[in-house]
């Protein structure tokens, strides 16, 4: 055990199932699935698909950062709510972060793309719209926003690796700590539902018309979701010096590309296997507590991921797919799943995989049918990204 080893000291999250980890976890443990047609926007794709939207009115703007003149984006709002919870658990005073070498590493997809349809429609018509939408975009890149609002002096990174962004952000943050770049990192991911990815994923014929069914024999696609997951990551030495509780250690991180096809994963999961083995970092696969799978419920993903996990860990490995509770929250997905993986180790249980009923031999693995006790050893969260990236992060229970 090294004083420079990265540990997690705070968790925060916000998703369709609730605000705060307690609420979200309780909803998952009771098997409650909350999805429906998009409420915040209208859309008419070929295949309508339910989404996991954070209910309006379920959250209040965080006072972590004083509101300024310009409207905060939903991404930033979600991020601040989750951040406030995580800082609270890590016993870090928001006002005391300024001027310190604290890093921020966040994943997002919508949060860093100029997708303001209203602005662009007006621009196309030659109406010469004002730049409010542009300024909003320029002012709300998640990591840059936090760095400026909280006066953070460490490294600043917004990662856009599509579906693996959140996992990569947590992995990157752990590496900054191990490298001694800074003592504390605010890590995680955030995304908001938007017409563009909703229509885009529908056009790829990737979405399900009903609630998604990870690893199920009758699965037929994903549902999109939104939210934020934040983890406070610091060095063991920093946490011990501050006298705060070390939740879990981050024991490994793997990241590997398929180089197979721009939208389809490698059929034998070669990239995923490499990433998982890197994250294991020499640990015995047989000792794994559970895997929080990417589990989007598309036909190819679950088959490839399932067979790969079975190959590495054995067909009986405990697997949970939490996208049936959160939807596929894109940039937030990996971060939410990291939070859930930590929580699973802490609580010694993982929820049932909602939507799963009938095993598919093509997936080999069978995810949890009910809430399941798990040993407090080490657990991995996997993400397979659009574009062929594969990321895996390993959390380890501490004595």
């Amino acid at each position: 055990m090294n004083p420079q080893d990265p540990v997690v000291t705070g968790l925060g999250c916000l998703a369709a199932g609730g605000v705060g980890l307690d609420a979200v976890w309780a909803a998952m443990m009771s098997g409650r699935v909350t999805c429906g047609p998009p409420g915040r926007f209208a859309a008419a794709p070929v295949r309508k698909s339910p989404v996991f939207e954070v209910p309006a009115g379920s959250w209040r703007p965080s006072r972590l950062v004083a509101e300024t003149g310009s409207d905060r984006t939903l991404c930033v709002e979600f991020l601040l709510v989750a951040l406030e919870e995580a800082l609270d658990q890590a016993v870090l005073r928001p006002g005391g972060l300024g001027g310190r070498r604290i890093g921020v590493c966040l994943g997002t997809t919508v949060g860093c793309t100029l997708n303001d349809e209203e602005f662009y429609r007006a621009f196309k018509k030659g109406e010469r719209p004002d730049l409010a939408a542009i300024h909003r975009f320029l002012d709300h890149n998640p990591a840059v926003y936090l760095a400026r609002a909280l006066d953070l002096r460490g490294p600043v990174s917004t990662i856009n690796n599509a579906c693996a962004s959140g996992t990569d952000a947590v992995g990157q943050a752990a590496e900054w700590i191990a490298e001694g770049l800074c003592d504390v990192v605010i890590a995680g991911g955030v995304d908001e539902l938007s017409r563009i990815p909703y229509l885009g994923f529908s056009s790829l014929l990737n979405t399900s018309e009903g609630p998604c069914r990870p690893f199920d024999a009758g699965r037929d696609g994903l549902n999109l979701g939104e939210g934020a997951g934040v983890l406070i990551i610091e060095s063991r030495a920093s946490a011990e010096r501050r006298g705060v509780r070390l939740l879990v250690g981050i024991g490994g991180y793997g990241c590997s590309a398929d180089a197979h096809h721009v939208t389809a994963p490698h059929p034998q999961g070669a990239g995923l296997e490499r990433a998982v083995r890197q994250a294991l970092a020499g640990r015995d696969p047989a000792g794994i507590s559970f895997v929080n799978a990417h589990g989007t419920a598309t036909i190819p993903n679950d088959a490839i991921e399932g067979t790969t996990l079975a190959r590495v860990f054995g067909a009986g490995v405990r697997v949970v797919g939490t996208k049936s509770y959160t939807g596929h929250a894109l940039g937030a997905a990996g971060a939410l799943e990291a939070v859930f993986t930590v929580q699973g180790l802490l609580a010694g249980t993982i929820p049932a995989t909602a939507g799963f009923q009938d095993a598919d031999p093509a997936c080999v693995v069978v995810p949890t049918r009910e809430a399941t006790g798990v040993p407090r050893t080490y657990a991995i969260s996997t993400s397979l990204a659009f574009g062929g990236g594969n990321s895996a992060i390993l959390f380890e229970a501490l004595p």
Binding site: V46, S203, L205, H261, A264
Partner: protein, 87 residues
């Protein structure tokens, strides 16, 4: 213009095939898969679904229908004709 030729021109233009003319595309050869001379893949198939709707007003509906209809130019033309006849 004859339907088969229209389909070939649409495929060439919209799927951005370079150095390919309609005469290069056979009516009965496979469009997709390893045996296909055109090298079209699953992403092209998805795009083709949208194009059929846009240019011919024809909806594909599901994966199985697509696989059958997209086998060759001939099967594609037959699919489009049938759908339009019913409409």
């Amino acid at each position: 213009m004859e339907l088969r030729r229209q389909l070939k021109e649409m495929i060439i233009t919209e799927l951005k095939l370079v150095n390919v003319t309609p005469d290069d595309i056979s009516d009965d050869g496979p469009l997709f898969g390893a045996d296909s001379a055109l090298g079209l893949d699953s992403l092209d198939a998805v795009e083709l679904v949208v194009l059929l709707q846009k240019k011919f007003g024809v909806e594909v509906g599901d994966r199985n229908t697509a696989t059958a209809a997209f086998a060759s130019i001939n099967s594609l033309a037959e699919f489009v004709s049938q759908k339009n006849a019913r409409a």
